[in-house]
């Protein structure tokens, strides 16, 4: 599971209002190279939750992203920043670990890169 997906996932348990972002407990993180496409990054940038991304990257062992969300000018011109964003968003894979709901503490295990988001009967 990559950070781009983690940035979209929220806890679905009934009654939970603050299910985003899920805390990452990283067990095994691997890096897989992905083709760099700045257009895609610019397109996705508006939809990202920056803080969640920075925290998630840090839990996976990557602390190169700036704390504050950069503005549009940086996005257009700064290629080094775009490369860092690309690396964090698309190239870091969480293979084993867990995602933890911030409100209830419920753990969603991650195996072989697949998070198990199935809810139990009483959580729906």
């Amino acid at each position: 599971m990559r950070l781009i997906t983690h940035n979209m996932l929220s806890c679905n348990i009934k009654g939970v209002t603050n299910g985003f972002p899920l805390r990452i407990e990283a067990g095994n993180v691997i890096e897989k190279e992905v083709e760099f496409n700045p257009d895609f990054l610019r397109h996705m940038f508006a939809k990202l939750e920056w803080k969640a991304l920075v925290e998630g990257a840090r839990s996976m062992g990557y602390a190169e992203l700036p704390e504050d969300s950069p503005d549009a000018a940086v996005l257009e011109s700064d290629e080094a920043f775009l490369k860092k964003l690309h690396h964090a968003l698309l190239e870091l894979h969480l293979e084993e670990g867990a995602l933890v709901c911030p409100e209830t503490g419920r753990k969603f295990p991650v195996n072989k890169g697949i998070p198990n988001m199935l809810l139990h009967e009483d959580e729906v």
Partner: protein, 289 residues
């Protein structure tokens, strides 16, 4: 006709390891899934600006449809309830992120983040109550509601479905419309029982471009069936090309040349061998005939 898988077992049990492998190694299924996924992507009508989009593949299974998405240059998240199918997808090293989840429990994605969603042969599984706690209507509601939320404005969702009967199709449509979607049904090859495929095309917000027209035998475009919501009674009305033709048929009492030519054209469309139309077609014969 073989049994429908939905009637045999719930999807996470039906698609166990053996079945998952069988499904993915069948070249016929691989080819069909690829074709359906290409068509679904076409119907998504994503802007042709070479910018990769972020798509959702609902019921992605072993990643057959996901591969088509990757080939078209987009990134995607796949959701499926069968762990065995997802394991096959991992083995095939698909490029999208995979989630093990139940679409009937809601998608759990943030608002407005998905550029488009496709689903190949999966949504009809929602109509079955596989557990005693399941109520299909609630599951459909949870699914469509969460889908509507996570799609960005103007995004579309295209589902290729195999509804068991008209009641099932109506149920799916009604829930989709109640969730706020607009859209229509696109039927490819409507006259052929084998080739016939139905695509439910749902739109979020206003329809920017016209909905793609469906294909028939000769690849010509014919109009699709539209859904309009009936405000007063809250029902879904479907305009049907066939119904109009039936009305036309009962109007004429005598079977003149025009009727004959029309029937011959219909037969041609089905693919039958029909003699050419000539000045002799429908000509009045001598009384001996």
């Amino acid at each position: 006709m073989a049994n429908r898988p939905e009637l045999l077992a719930p999807p996470e049990i039906f698609y166990d390891e053996t079945e998952a492998r069988k499904y993915t190694s069948s070249s016929r299924i691989v080819e069909i899934q690829a074709r359906l996924s290409e068509r679904a992507l076409e119907l998504l009508a994503l802007p042709e600006d070479d910018v990769p989009r972020f798509l959702l593949d609902i019921g992605c299974g072993s990643g057959l449809s996901g591969e088509t998405i990757s080939e078209n240059g987009h990134h995607w998240i796949g959701l499926d309830i069968s762990a065995s199918m997802l394991n096959v997808a991992v083995e095939r090293e698909v490029e999208g992120d995979l989630l093990l989840g139940d679409m009937g429990q809601g998608l759990g994605l943030r608002s407005g983040v998905i550029d488009g969603a496709i689903s190949i042969s999966a949504v009809q599984w929602l109509c079955n109550a596989d557990k005693s706690c399941h109520e299909p209507r609630l599951r459909l509601k949870a699914f469509f509601g969460s889908l509507y939320r996570c799609l960005s404005r103007g995004a579309r969702a295209v589902f290729q479905v195999y509804p068991e009967n008209i009641a099932q199709r109506e149920l799916i449509l009604r829930q989709a419309l109640q969730a706020g979607f607009g859209g229509g049904l696109v039927v490819d090859y409507p006259h052929s029982t084998k080739k016939r495929k139905e695509f439910l095309v749902l739109t979020c917000g206003s329809i920017q471009t016209s909905i793609q027209t469906s294909k028939n035998e000769h690849g010509e475009s014919c109009s699709e069936d539209d859904f309009s919501e009936d405000e007063e009674s809250g029902t879904v009305s479907m305009s049907d090309r066939n119904r109009a033709r039936k009305r036309q048929k009962t109007k004429k009492n005598k079977k003149g040349r025009e009727w004959i030519l029309r029937k011959k054209e219909q037969s041609r469309r089905k693919g039958n061998d029909v003699p050419e139309d000539s000045k002799y077609t429908g000509r009045k014969r001598k009384s001996r005939f």
